[in-house]
Amino acid sequence: MSIAAAFFYLFAGVCVASAFMVIAARNPVHSVLFLILAFVNAAGLLLLLGAEFLAMILVVVYVGAVAVLFLFVVMMLDVDFAELKQGVLQFLPVGALVGIVFLVELLLVVGAWTFGPGVPRSIEAAIPPLETMTNTEALGLVLYTRYIYFFQAAGLVLLIAMIGAIVLTLQHRRGVKRQDVARQNARTPETAIEIRKVQPGQGI
C-alpha cells in the first residue's frame, strides 16, 4: 500500500468517524469540535487530490471562520441541544429507510455512468494540466477574465445578504451614548479643562 493510499484511508476514516460524532455527541461544543476535525480531514483529502488551493480555502473559511462562529453561537445561546435531539431515535427507522432508498437509487444512476463522446474534450478545456501551473494560478487566470460575470454576481449576492442582515436585525435605539470620534479629537485643553482657583479652607 502506497503512502498516498494510507493517508487516504486515514483522512477518510477520521472524517467519517468525526462526522458521525458531530450528530452523536451529547455536548454541542464537542459537536462543533468534531465538525472542525471533519473539515481538516476533508482538506487533507483535497490535498491528496492535488487541489491544494481548495484545501487551504476549506481550512481558512470553514475552520477559521464558520466553525469558530458556530462555537461562539453554541456557547452564547442557551439552547438545550439534548432536548432537541430527543426525537432522533424515534425518527431513526424512517430516516434510515429513506436514506437507504436514496443511496440505492444513486448507485443505480452512477452505475449507469457513461461519458458522452463530447465530455472529455470539454473537461480538458476547463482545467490546464497540473504540471504546467498550480491550481491557484489556474484559478487566478480565469477568475477575473472568463468568469468575471459569475464573480461579480456572487459579489452582488453577498451585498444583498449583508443588506438583508442589517435590515432584519439593526435597531435604532434612542438614548444610547455613541462615540463621536471627530468631537473627541476636536477637544482641546481649553474646552476640556476648567481651572479654578480654590481658596484654602473653602470648597468650590
Partner: protein
C-alpha cells in the same frame, strides 16, 4: 480570450445601470436617513423604468456576452420589460401601506431593485451557473422582504418558512445541475443540448427531474406549492403583491429557457413532467381556493392555478405554446397587480383588513373600486372579452395544436371551477349588505389599479402590440 480585454458590456448595460443605481441609492439612504424614503422610492421606480427603456433600445437581434453565459434575445427583452414594470408597480403599491403603518424603510425599494437585477440575470442566463446566481440574487431578497416586519410574528414566520424551503429547493436545483454537468460535461445550455442530442442516460434524466423540481418551487407549481399560501398570507401585503408578479415572470422565463434551450432533444421526457405539474396546479388552484376566506390566501391559490395554466403552453413545447405562455404571463401580471391594488386599499380606521367578507356591498360604498375589482375578477376567471380570456385562449389553442387534448379539457374544466370563487366575490360586492366603507385610496394605488383595469378591459380592442412582441419573442428561442 485575451486576459487584458473586458468582455463586451453592452448587452448587460441595463443590469449594470441598475446595480450602480441601487448602490448609489443605498449610500443616499444610509447618509440621508429615513426622511427621504419617498424620494428613494420615486428614484427606484424611475431607475426601473429607465432600465426597461434601455432593454427595449438595446441593439437588435441576439446578443451574447461573458463567454456565452449571458444572452439578450427578443425573449429576454420581453420578459425583462415585464419584470421591470412589475417591480416598479410593486414599489408604487408599497409606499402608502408602509406610510400608514409608520414602518417606512428606505431599504425596501433598494432591495426590490436588487432583486430585479437577479430576475434579469435569470432571464438572460444561458448556463447553469449564471442561472443559479441569478436565482439566488432574486430569492435572497424575497426572503428578507417576507420578514421585513420584524415585530410581526406572522411576517417573521413567513420569512423563515420561505427561507428554509427556498434553501431546500436551491439544494435540489444544484443537485440536479451537478448531475446534468456530470453526465454532459458542460454547464452551458447549448453544450447540454449538443451532448443530449448525442446520447441520453438515466443520470441526465435524474438531473433534469431535480432541476425541474427547483424550477417548480420558484413558480409555486404543485407539488412544490406548499409554501405559497402561508408566505402570501404572512408577508406584508405589498410584499405579497411583489411576490405574485415579477418573480413569477422570472421563474417562468427560467423554466422556459431551461427546458427549451438546454433539453430540446429530450422534450418528450420533460413534457410529461410539465404536463403533470400543469394539471396538478390547475386543479389544486381551483379546488383549494374555494374554501378560503382571506383574500391574500385566495390570491395565493389563484396564482398557483394561473401558473398551471401558463405551464400548459410549455407542455406543448412548440413555438406557439411558448407564445401562449408569454401572453399569459404578461396578462397575469396586469391582473395580479390590479387585484393587489384593491387589497391594499381595503383599509378602515382600525387598520388593514384582508377578509373577503369585508368587501360586502362594496358596489354601494365605492362603486368605482367595485367595478374595477369586478373587471379584474372576471378577467382572472377568463370570461370574454376581457384579457384573461385571451390569455387562456392562446395556451389552450397551442395545447390542442400539439395534440394535448386531455390537458386542454382539464384546463377548461379547472377554469370553470375557478370561476366559481371569483364570481362569488363579485356577488358579495354587488348583492350583499353594505359594510363600513374604506379609507380613501392613495394616488399610486389609483394609477396602478386604473392601468391594470384598463389593460384588462380594453385588451381586445388593440391586442396586436402584445401579440406581435410575444410572437417574435417566442421565435427567438427556436
Amino acid at each position: 480570450m485575451n486576459p487584458a480585454t473586458l468582455p463586451p458590456l453592452v448587452p448587460a448595460l441595463p443590469e449594470l445601470m441598475l446595480a450602480l443605481g441601487a448602490m448609489a441609492l443605498l449610500m443616499f439612504g444610509v447618509f440621508r436617513g429615513p426622511r427621504f424614503v419617498h424620494v428613494i422610492s420615486g428614484l427606484a421606480i424611475a431607475l426601473l423604468l429607465l432600465a426597461a427603456v434601455m432593454v427595449v433600445y438595446l441593439p437588435g437581434g441576439t446578443l451574447t456576452t461573458f463567454g456565452g453565459s449571458f444572452v439578450v434575445d427578443d425573449f429576454a427583452r420581453f420578459m425583462k420589460v415585464l419584470a421591470l414594470v412589475g417591480s416598479a408597480a410593486a414599489i408604487a403599491l408599497s409606499t402608502d401601506y408602509f406610510d400608514s403603518l409608520r414602518e417606512q424603510r428606505f431599504e425596501y425599494p433598494i432591495l426590490i431593485v436588487l432583486s430585479t437585477i437577479g430576475m434579469m440575470m435569470l432571464i438572460s442566463a444561458a448556463d447553469l451557473i449564471a442561472l443559479y446566481l441569478g436565482l439566488e440574487t432574486m430569492s435572497l431578497v424575497l426572503y428578507v422582504l417576507a420578514a421585513i416586519h420584524r415585530t410581526s410574528v406572522r411576517s417573521s414566520e413567513a420569512g423563515l418558512k420561505y427561507f428554509v424551503l427556498g434553501a431546500l429547493s436551491s439544494g435540489m436545483l444544484l443537485y440536479g445541475a451537478s448531475l446534468v454537468y456530470g453526465f454532459t460535461g458542460t454547464v452551458s445550455f447549448s453544450g447540454i443540448a449538443r451532448a443530449t442530442a448525442e446520447q441520453t442516460s438515466m443520470g441526465l434524466l435524474f438531473g433534469l427531474v431535480f432541476l425541474f423540481a427547483g424550477f417548480c418551487f420558484k413558480v409555486s407549481a404543485v407539488p412544490f406549492h406548499m409554501w405559497t399560501p402561508d408566505v402570501y398570507e404572512g408577508a406584508p401585503t405589498p410584499v405579497t403583491a411583489f411576490f405574485a408578479s415579477a418573480p413569477k415572470v422570472a421563474g417562468i422565463a427560467m423554466f422556459i429557457r431551461g427546458a427549451i434551450d438546454a433539453f430540446p432533444d429530450i422534450a418528450p421526457q420533460w413534457q410529461q413532467i410539465v404536463g403533470f405539474v400543469a394539471i396538478a396546479s390547475m386543479l389544486l388552484g381551483s379546488f383549494a381556493a374555494i374554501g378560503q376566506r382571506n383574500f391574500k390566501r385566495l390570491m395565493a391559490y389563484s396564482s398557483i392555478g394561473h401558473m398551471g395554466f401558463a405551464l400548459i403552453g410549455l407542455a406543448a413545447g412548440t413555438e406557439e405554446g411558448v407564445r401562449g405562455v408569454l401572453i399569459y404571463t404578461a396578462i397575469y401580471v396586469a391582473m395580479t397587480l390590479g387585484t393587489f391594488a384593491v387589497i391594499l386599499s381595503m383599509r378602515r380606521k382600525v387598520g388593514y383588513v384582508e377578509d373577503i367578507g369585508d368587501l360586502s356591498g362594496l358596489a354601494r360604498t365605492h362603486p368605482a373600486l367595485a367595478f374595477f375589482l369586478a373587471v379584474l375578477l372576471f378577467s382572472l376567471a377568463g370570461i370574454p372579452p376581457l384579457a384573461g380570456f385571451f390569455a387562456k385562449f392562446y395556451v389552450f389553442l397551442a395545447a390542442i395544436k400539439a395534440g394535448l387534448y386531455a390537458l386542454a379539457v382539464i384546463g377548461v374544466l379547472a377554469s370553470v371551477v375557478a370561476a366559481y370563487y371569483y364570481l362569488a366575490i363579485v356577488k358579495i360586492m354587488y348583492f350583499d349588505e353594505a359594510g363600513e366603507g374604506f379609507e380613501p385610496m392613495s394616488a399610486e394605488l389609483k394609477v396602478v389599479l386604473g392601468l391594470a383595469g384598463l389593460i384588462n378591459l380594453l385588451f381586445f380592442v388593440y391586442p396586436s402590440p402584445l401579440l406581435e412582441t410575444a410572437t417574435s419573442a417566442a421565435r427567438s428561442l427556436f
